[in-house]
Subunit: 236 residues, 2 copies
Amino acid sequence: MAQVLVAPRLRLNRDRVLQAAVQLADRIGIDALSMRRLAEELGVVPMALYKHVANKDELLDGMVDVIVAEIDPPNGDLGWKAAVRLRVLSARQMLLRHPWARSVLESRTRETPTVLDYMESTIGMFLAGGFSADLTHHVMHALGSRMWGFTQELFDASAGPDRPPVDIAAQVAQLQAMAERYPHILQISEVATHDDSVVARGCDDRFEFEFALDLLLDGFERLRDAGWSSDARPTA
Amino acid sequence: MAQVLVAPRLRLNRDRVLQAAVQLADRIGIDALSMRRLAEELGVVPMALYKHVANKDELLDGMVDVIVAEIDPPNGDLGWKAAVRLRVLSARQMLLRHPWARSVLESRTRETPTVLDYMESTIGMFLAGGFSADLTHHVMHALGSRMWGFTQELFDASAGPDRPPVDIAAQVAQLQAMAERYPHILQISEVATHDDSVVARGCDDRFEFEFALDLLLDGFERLRDAGWSSDARPTA
DNA sequence: GGTGAAGGTGTACACCGTACACTCGGATGC
DNA sequence: GCATCCGAGTGTACGGTGTACACCTTCACC
């Protein structure tokens, strides 16, 4: 009956820590995520976290595991091409849910089981599709970070946490100035916004992503069907 | 005649700061590069740097400018394909000289003139090659970070600053353990090392890079020759 | 009911980026 | 020749970071 009125203070464990870290990063961004801030969120003193993760690096690795596990499992009913495509797009959806994930994924170098599982099953999709192990190897390299649902680009629209409100007048003046020095950049960015009156609307990210993905998938298929072999590789 | 014997203590300027920062990063790595450490290197107090760069972010932007300027200018005598290829491979050489550059390039979001110049001239190569502005736009996206001489991959061989010395016995045992859980990963990594007795020699980075690059360039060419247009794009 | 281990605490350290007020040397104007 | 001014370099300080280490508290089990 003398039930305490404060929160029952359930014990910490590794999973609670990781889940809280992911949610907190979703909310306040990865830069603001510090051990102290996370501890505060969990109503605990900073050093308490170190009973559950060895250090911040391991915390980040754990967070990667959490989000990689969110990627849909392969769909066995589809052909390799559709299956890979769907899976990669699922990874992309996960990345859109966790905007911080890209930079963390990029910075990681430790190969955790969850991550290896993801690679393992992706490789399996190519092998099942009739790709040689050799070609599959190169294909995985070619996919690169696209396998994780993103590609690195400078000036990505989602890079800045908050774009300043567009000042149309200033933007037009800036475009004018750019026209001389960067005519080509201007030319291709005009195309990107031809159907929209607002200047610099940005690209259709999903379209761009799928454009490159399909280009690669088609290329892979052509190589496979041509019986590609790396025997012709120049031994540098 | 009363020439001072200590170093003449030549004045700092923005360029000296940036050059020193690049060299220091080459030597001690980007993580160890702090304003304090850089100041020490220049024989100056930390705050002195702030007379020449606004903050650390601007320092990093300046460092990017320095290394991007190292990329070879386009060769006008070649066709678009060979010219783009050569240029991208030159960017890659620059990146190999500055191992820290990849992560810095990835983290930057500010578009400095030097960086814009590089993009401008790259875009120009496609336009000169008969690509429509529309297609060029998507092509630049598809190139992604490959334009900068790298692609993001997990477990890149160059990721760790110092791989621990290989313990062959432990490695074999680990492979044994992996064989059950990750047969596919094992399968494609065996291919990568078939001509080498040492386990886990790693991939031929240059080959992998060019494999994907050429796959894309060939794909671009096919699209151009087919008169590709994005009019068929599904309006989401 | 005692005990041992695991979980949570408190304090402390070294390092980081940088705000702010200062000193001092050298160019400029009279 | 002297005053002035300005900007490069200095010194101190603050609030933040990750985390080592010693401590205490709680709880399961014999």
